[in-house]
Amino acid sequence: MDWLEEELKSALSRKEPSEGFDARVTAAAQRRKVTPMPRRWLAAAAAVIVLAGAGEGYRWHQGQVAKDQVMLAMRIAGGKLNRVQTQIAGERQ
């Protein structure tokens, strides 16, 4: 190790944090401590998620049925309109 490396070792020697660091960290860590969720709360949360998912799925299904009905109605109306147009064109000729 040459002179520069010796100087670097000295310049980068370990330092201590400010006084009371341990106490501050301990107190803050204790405040942050997360208490585990009781099992029955976990089960209730899971049930709520499942119900919400099922509700959302049902709403999506209803939406699909309504969409299909609208599309069918439009197809029927379009067919009838075509027929009327053909009739009118025939009468004019």
């Binding site: 070792k9 310049a11 341990d22």
Partner: protein, 173 residues
């Protein structure tokens, strides 16, 4: 005694681990960031992580290695987030009015300032090499970068520091 002070699963004491490793964790952050308040924030965050993972501690040496790795990562993250203080460039480091000599506190201060001007990779490699006395293979493992990159970071940084010191009239003894 609460779960905070003692992990019943392993028997490792949080307070003792903190006392043993706090100067290492704080110094990695301090020498890298050159900001005492920010270094304390990083160190605090690192020990929160230890507290959350206390049950996984296998030995004090394992805790030390783990803390060093987390301190390195958190320090780099903090430096990337930092916007309030512009990075110091080499040109911003004032020329000392007198020539610092070996063993002079002024030389130590100048070296710390010059290291602060290095890019993050080389800077962290230098901190781990000279603060923690790690060899390049250990640094590569801690920083999760190739060994060749660590060697090049250290060699280039030493060349750069020698040049800058020579320009300031500081040379070999």
């Amino acid at each position: 005694m609460t779960g905070l002070q003692r992990a019943t699963e392993t028997g490792y004491d949080f307070g003792e681990l903190m006392r043993e490793h706090r100067s290492m964790v704080f110094s990695v952050a301090y020498h890298f960031l050159r900001d005492r308040d920010q270094a304390e924030e990083v160190a605090q965050d690192v020990f929160f992580s230890l507290h959350r993972n206390l049950a996984a501690v296998q030995s004090t040496a394992h805790a030390g290695n783990w803390l060093r790795k987390v301190a390195v990562q958190r320090s780099i993250d903090a430096a990337r987030r930092r916007t309030r203080r512009p990075q110091v460039s080499l040109e911003d480091v004032a020329e000392p009015s007198t020539r610092p000599t070996s063993g002079d506190p002024m030389l130590g201060d100048l070296l710390r300032k010059l290291i602060a001007t290095l890019p993050e990779g080389p800077r962290m490699a230098m901190v781990l090499r000279y603060q923690e006395d790690l060899d390049p293979a250990e640094i590569a493992e801690v920083m999760e970068i190739p060994l060749g990159t660590v060697k090049s970071h250290i060699q280039r940084s030493l060349v750069l520091l020698r040049e800058k010191l020579a320009r300031r009239g500081v040379g070999e003894r």
